[in-house]
Symmetry: C3
Subunit: 222 residues, 3 copies
């Protein structure tokens, strides 16, 4: 079994992959909408950081994640400027699809870590799980709202936010039966990521409205 | 005259009706835009809870309303999932119009209670009244922004936010002449609700821009 | 050299011009979208105050700017109602262009003052500069998002947010070499404003994507 230090290293790597994946998805969406380079950086920042920020504001927790870990800001600025330069004269549709895989890690780690952070502040299981969901999906929703798209996170019929919800309950459950926070977050994050990857691979989706009229009406921003 | 306990019971009933009405208006709008079931729950939650949440964040007040009264979350989840299932294969335009009546109670009780909460924290009359307006209208505005509509609350020319403003001043006034908070909130909430119902019944509206060009340009989301 | 009192008076004047310019730009955009009079006031308020409010919430700073300086609320209400009445039956395109000049003062003073406020709370240079940028551009972004436009601030290819960033670093630098806060804010604000005015006069812009396809796709809300 992995020791606590190994678990912490693993979580740090997950977090990094998640921030980069979220920032990239924001940068790609902003480039597609022809925002200027500042706009690409702003949307990348918003997509990667808004979820954790809203969670911290709602929990009245300070300093904020990105104030404490300032290096992420430099990473995001680099991703934004880099995306703007590289994508300036290329097609990027393949990249856009490829990003779903690292994004699955971001979903897992943001949801699991957000839940644990709220549990550490004595939130109830439901509230903590919600804080995890908020950490994981707010950035993607704001990205799309800012770019005048219907929020893909809740309009795509894909399994996404609901996996964050299930994984948050799992984080709480592992802690409730005596597991350490690191173990709970690691298992929770991996479970969400695995479920997301499986749902992508097998095309699982939420129950559809009416087969005939929904396809085509919802724009998928990635 | 009613005793304090009766007033509190009345306010609790109002609050419940308001939360349900706001959540329903969010769920209906999300169903209409063909969001998935998670999206319907998210928009229902946002519509019902964003106003009180923003008020609490601006007043630096914790715990948040829905953290303290967790049962509302279950109610909202039930409303969201229920709406998604029931409306899946039906027309809901009549329901959409019917919701304006309970919504009027939500407008009244959210505005009046929000004002009183701010007054209890020593806000000035103007600030307290604004906090009441924010409590009452933020959810509806975010619902429409998230769904890419012009915000109905401030684009419909109906008497809505302005009634919340007037009622907030009334809550302050009743307290200023010695009325108890419960009395102030009850009278304020009922006055706003009554004014809203009358404005609906008699089709009162805000001054229009130009008779010839505004009708038809503004989409009414309910 | 100017004394501290003179600098403070100057900053107060700048702030006033900035609030009025931002509120006007919000009111004009709302009138153009045919919002009702309440909507015009709400968008004017949001455009002028959202940036400082978000900064204060992120820094966990209270009371909020507009709670402390309540008179600005009356000014904004007057601007909103006045705009709605005056513009009711007129073309306002010229006004819309004219507003860019006072807006440049708002950009400068909001960014410089926001940076200094964060520095006073022991933020790092990067975080403080970001807080200045957030103070200066959030209002304009929310104005456009609420009205369903792509955010002009980050979609216009004009030099705008990036000048706030540069000026924020200048505010920090002046303080780091021993300048007083008032001096740093004044010089920072004037530098940003001057750079903005020059960029408008000489039509400087951010690097464009592709010459042939971007013009026309981005709607400029002012």
């Amino acid at each position: 079994m992995l020791g606590e230090t190994a678990l912490q290293t693993l979580l740090f790597v997950f977090e990094g992959v998640g921030v980069v994946a979220f920032a990239l998805s924001g940068a790609l969406a902003a480039v597609r909408k022809r925002l200027d380079v500042v706009g690409v950086v702003v949307v990348a920042f918003l997509t990667a950081m808004a979820g954790g920020t809203l969670r911290d504001v709602l929990l009245d927790r300070s300093p904020l994640f990105w104030v404490e870990h300032e290096y992420w800001l430099w990473v995001i600025i680099a991703i934004g400027v880099g995306s703007a330069i590289i994508l300036r004269s290329r097609h990027f549709e393949p990249t856009s699809r490829a990003i779903q895989w690292p994004d699955a890690l971001g979903l897992g780690v943001f949801a699991a870590a957000g839940t644990q952070i709220a549990l550490d502040m004595d939130s109830s299981p439901l509230i903590a799980t919600l804080m995890g969901v908020i950490s994981a999906v707010t950035g993607g929703i704001l990205r799309d709202v800012m770019l005048n798209d219907l929020p893909w996170v809740v309009a795509s019929f894909q399994l996404y936010a609901i996996l964050a919800f299930g994984g948050g309950l799992m984080v709480w459950g592992i802690g409730a039966v005596g597991g350490s926070p690191q173990l709970a977050v690691t298992v929770g994050a991996l479970s969400i990521t695995l479920a997301r990857v499986l749902s992508l691979a097998f095309n699982w989706s939420l129950p559809n409205w009416r087969k005939d009229d929904h396809t085509g009406t919802i724009e998928l921003p990635r």
